[in-house]
């Protein structure tokens, strides 16, 4: 940089002069040049991540408003506000200030509603976004690390939700904390100590709300912001994935330029998300804490439930039998220094299902990478049907989750459908094991069938519904051939074949390689090969299906 003050460029308008002033000091032109016309692919399923980001922004805005009025103290007070049914009732200051926000601060109830609804939407959109990424294979190289960041964000969003849920210190959330305390106490060796440290003494103590408040408004949001920054940074580095189709491949990105179309659509979408949340908050009541009353360890009403995202853990707790064929699931273990208690009936369901889900979630990209030995970069997504085994695994996991989630409403299912509560639990226990397996089998068959249908359409065109009668009396339906673009969408995918274990340099197939060969068979044994030009050319069509004992040949 020279020291001369002479600049060749002189802005003409005042906006231009201000922009130029900033530009000369931070180099905004370069940034704009890089990003101003950056291309983003467009698809409705890419909007889930946007919904997550926008609902998080709305959470920050509404949450900041709430902090101005909320007091996280557990000191005892007597209610003196306008809500008649609670007049004179003993309660904590936290609960009292929540009532004040609801009844006395104008717009306070609306802000509480917005905050709670966007929290529910935030976790939901993060979850659905992750499902989209999984089912389309967007987690593959080079995006494995961003998938992990996404998983961390999911856990953080659960933490943010739960810490916030507990703050009003109402009866419902207090019982939620009571359950957390019970689970923590079940942890071997350190559980009791963690419980006493967490609550500052015996449950519920007078410290927990303040501590959760700090985590809810500072620690967890700061971590989420950090992870969001890393997440978006990696999206910029990788550029966005795109769905398969004509003109799209792993070396390009096809879509709309950031300015103006994409920015307008994405920016406009923020207002739409905000608008929808505001609309819901106007008409649908959420968490009316004044109906529940302040926390009291004695009462609890039937049909209580946590927020939806904690449901799967609560459901797992419900599904676990305390006694299995007269064998207790809690054990008193005699040890040299005395007897200790291990509550597997609490610890097992609280940790194992969630542990399985998150373990598989975090490791899946590496498992698939190892099985396929695929080290290429993938920027074109898979249509879920074109990766049948992955899709089936995803559906199995989803059903596993949903069974536990449904179990969190076992009592409501029983009362609503007027069936026995015990029967509902027995059925769900069975589904917990059978559901994922059934889901896997059905999904894989459906995916393969859809692939065959694609193949058929690619080779023979689509049905026009027009029946013609030939001179010799035969009736035929006319099929219209697809154009090249539509056909390419149906045939432009890879269908790997299973691979035997590969011998190492000593000519030995190691046990690990054998396992890999088996898994490769599990993944790719049943496959439908994409249609080829030769088949189209020949007009006749040989067997589409390789291997797979139970696969039927395609008949026309």
């Amino acid at each position: 940089m020279s020291t001369t003050t002479e600049t060749p460029f002189q802005a003409k308008t005042s906006t231009g002069r201000i922009t130029d002033f900033v530009d000369q000091r931070v180099g905004g032109s370069g940034i704009l040049r890089e990003f101003g016309r950056k291309v983003f692919p467009d698809h409705w399923s890419f909007m889930f991540g946007e919904v997550a980001l926008y609902s998080f922004v709305i959470l920050l805005l509404s949450g900041t408003f709430l902090t101005f009025f909320f007091d996280p103290s557990m000191a005892e007070t007597h209610y003196a506000g306008p809500y008649v049914p609670l007049k004179g009732v003993e309660m904590s200051v936290a609960y009292d200030s929540t009532l004040r926000i609801s009844f006395e601060v104008r717009g306070g109830l609306f802000m509480r509603q917005v905050h709670h609804w966007s929290a529910l939407l935030f976790v939901a959109s993060v979850s659905v976004h992750m499902l989209r990424v999984f089912f389309t294979g967007a987690f593959r190289k080079p995006r494995e690390l961003n998938w992990v960041v996404g998983g961390v964000l999911l856990i953080l969003s659960l933490a943010a939700g739960f810490t916030g849920y507990s703050l009003p210190d109402d009866l419902l959330s207090g019982n939620g904390l009571r359950i957390i305390d019970g689970v923590v106490k079940a942890v071997p060796i350190v559980g009791t100590y963690i419980s006493f440290f967490l609550f500052g003494g015996e449950f519920p103590g007078t410290a927990i709300i303040g501590r959760l408040y700090m985590m809810h408004i500072m620690l967890v949001p700061a971590l989420i912001l950090l992870m969001v920054a890393i997440h978006l940074f990696m999206v910029v580095v990788h550029k966005h994935t795109q769905y398969p189709g004509p003109g799209r491949n792993d070396r390009n990105v096809v879509g709309y330029p950031l300015g103006p179309v994409y920015a307008a659509k994405a920016g406009g979408f923020f207002f739409i998300v905000f608008g929808v949340i505001a609309f819901i908050s106007a008409f649908f009541q959420i968490n009316p804490v004044w109906n529940y009353g302040p926390y009291d360890p004695s009462p609890v009403s039937a049909g209580t439930q946590p927020d939806w995202y904690i449901g799967f853990v609560d459901g797992a707790l419900r599904l676990m039998p305390g006694w299995l064929f007269n064998i207790p699931m809690e054990w008193n273990i005699p040890l040299p220094w005395g007897t200790n208690t291990l509550s597997f009936n609490v610890l097992g369901p609280a940790l194992i299902p969630a542990g399985i889900i998150f373990m598989l979630l975090f490791t899946y990209p590496w498992i698939e990478r190892w099985v396929t030995r695929d080290d290429r970069e993938h920027h074109v997504l898979d249509r879920p049907r074109n990766a049948p085994t992955r899709t089936a695994i995803g559906v199995a996991g989803f059903i596993f989750y949903c069974v536990m989630w449904a179990a969190a409403s076992s009592d409501l299912i029983a009362t609503h459908f007027e069936v026995s509560l015990n029967d509902v639990t027995y059925w769900l226990r069975a589904l917990f094991f059978i559901g994922p397996i059934l889901g896997f089998i059905v999904t894989k068959r459906v995916a393969l069938a859809l692939q065959r249908k694609d193949r058929e359409i690619a080779l023979h065109g689509r049905e026009t519904g027009r029946i013609v009668r030939l001179p010799h009396g035969e009736f035929q339906e006319i099929h219209a051939q697809l154009d090249d673009y539509k056909r390419y969408k149906l045939v432009g995918y890879e269908s790997p074949v299973p691979e035997e274990g590969i011998p190492n340099e000593n000519g030995i197939v190691t046990r690990k390689e054998k396992l890999r060969g088996k898994l490769s068979g599990f993944f790719f044994e049943d496959r439908v090969a994409p249609a080829t030009p030769a088949e189209l050319e020949a007009g006749h069509h040989h067997e589409a299906v390789e291997a797979g004992d139970d696969d039927k040949a395609i008949t026309h």
């Binding site: 291309v39 106490k185 491949n249 809690e330 208690t341 390419y488 432009g492």
Partner: protein
């Protein structure tokens, strides 16, 4: 910048890759030809879209006004009715203000802004040249620190860094007291009267009719000034009266009840929810949180659900004035299990 979609094929080998068996594959025909929208060709349609966008922005303005009507126009008067009206107006106002802007911009983008899809080349995430340069830099840095040549520095540094975080852990020790035997005791003691929850009036044995149930606290609970909720969280009790012949007390517990009146801890042995639902006909107690079911006629043995242990029984009797009193504290810790419980 990428080239506009003119239908020229780009990248014909998108599918076939080494190691995969497909050789005979369809060629990528390239981006489909661009199709014009109505607003691109018909100025009338473009004008119409322009007016639609403007109307959506006007709706947003009206929404903002509705918000202020709700905020300043509705007086909160201690009733739920006015609160509901205000909340609805604020919500509707914000909803229209936001949806108007959002749908307006999106409609503008979709109908009027250029909708040519463009293709852009991806860049290599890491070039080999960068990798080699980075390795060289790291090697130089390590070399310049001399950490490999000076193991004394390295080893003491490892020791220091390993120890330095320990205070950060130890400093959290005072988050709470040690458990001690706190979980083994409750407020109940010999002669402590059973009182109604929450007002604390003592219960006479004669008041407890067959089939009735009382939510019970120790009479002295309401005198506590500190730790009242924590004490209550352990001490709450359910009191029920059955036909004495329906009870099947085990040996040593025959005199823990009085005339068919029995008292059990209300805190579930699963994870601590209050076992608040009493099914009078079946003599079952049901925890509404996770549906553990306890059978009163079998000393609150678990007959369904995730709990393992029966609810602890509070031995009771009557005092000289006919009030129900505890014979002692519970004989075992109440509530969820913990490692040291034994």
């Amino acid at each position: 910048m990428g080239n506009h979609s003119d239908g020229t094929p780009t990248g014909a080998d998108a599918v076939a890759k080494a190691g995969h068996q497909e050789v005979d594959v369809f060629q990528d025909p390239g981006l489909p030809p661009h199709r014009l929208r109505l607003a691109d060709t018909d100025p009338k349609a473009a004008k119409r879209a322009e007016r639609q966008v403007a109307w959506l922005f006007v709706i947003s303005i009206i929404g903002t006004l509705v918000f202020f009507v709700g905020y300043f126009g509705v007086r909160l008067d201690d009733t739920i009715g006015t609160l509901r009206i205000q909340n609805t107006l604020l919500g509707l106002g914000v909803a229209f203000a936001m949806l108007g802007i959002g749908t307006g911009i999106v409609h503008w983008a979709r109908a009027l802004m250029p909708d040519h899809e463009v293709a852009e080349e991806r860049h290599e995430i890491r070039t080999e040249e960068d990798r080699q340069a980075a390795v060289k830099i790291v090697d130089d840095i390590i070399d310049e620190t001399g950490i490999k040549r000076r193991p004394l520095i390295r080893n003491t540094l490892i020791g220091a860094v390993a120890l330095a975080p320990l205070p950060a852990i130890a400093i959290f020790r005072d988050l709470g007291p040690l458990p001690g035997d706190a979980l083994r005791h409750t407020l109940w003691k010999e002669g402590e009267r059973l009182a109604r929850d929450p007002d604390g009036t003592p219960i006479k044995a004669a008041d407890v009719t067959i089939g009735s149930a009382f939510h019970v606290i120790p009479e002295s609970l309401n005198d506590l000034h500190e730790g009242k909720i924590a004490a209550k969280a352990k001490a709450v009790v359910l009191l029920m009266r059955l036909n004495p012949e329906d009870l099947n007390p085990s040996e040593g517990r025959e005199d823990w009840g009085y005339n068919g009146i029995v008292a059990y801890s209300k805190i579930c042995t699963h994870v601590g929810c209050p076992v608040a639902l009493y099914e009078q006909q079946t003599h079952h107690l049901l925890c509404p949180c996770h549906q553990s079911t306890f059978d009163l006629t079998q000393e609150c043995k678990v007959i369904f659900g995730p709990a393992v242990r029966p609810l602890p029984q509070l031995p009771i009797t009557v005092d000289a004035d006919g009030y129900l009193v505890a014979q002692s504290d519970f004989h075992e810790p109440v509530g969820p299990s913990f490692w040291e419980r034994g």
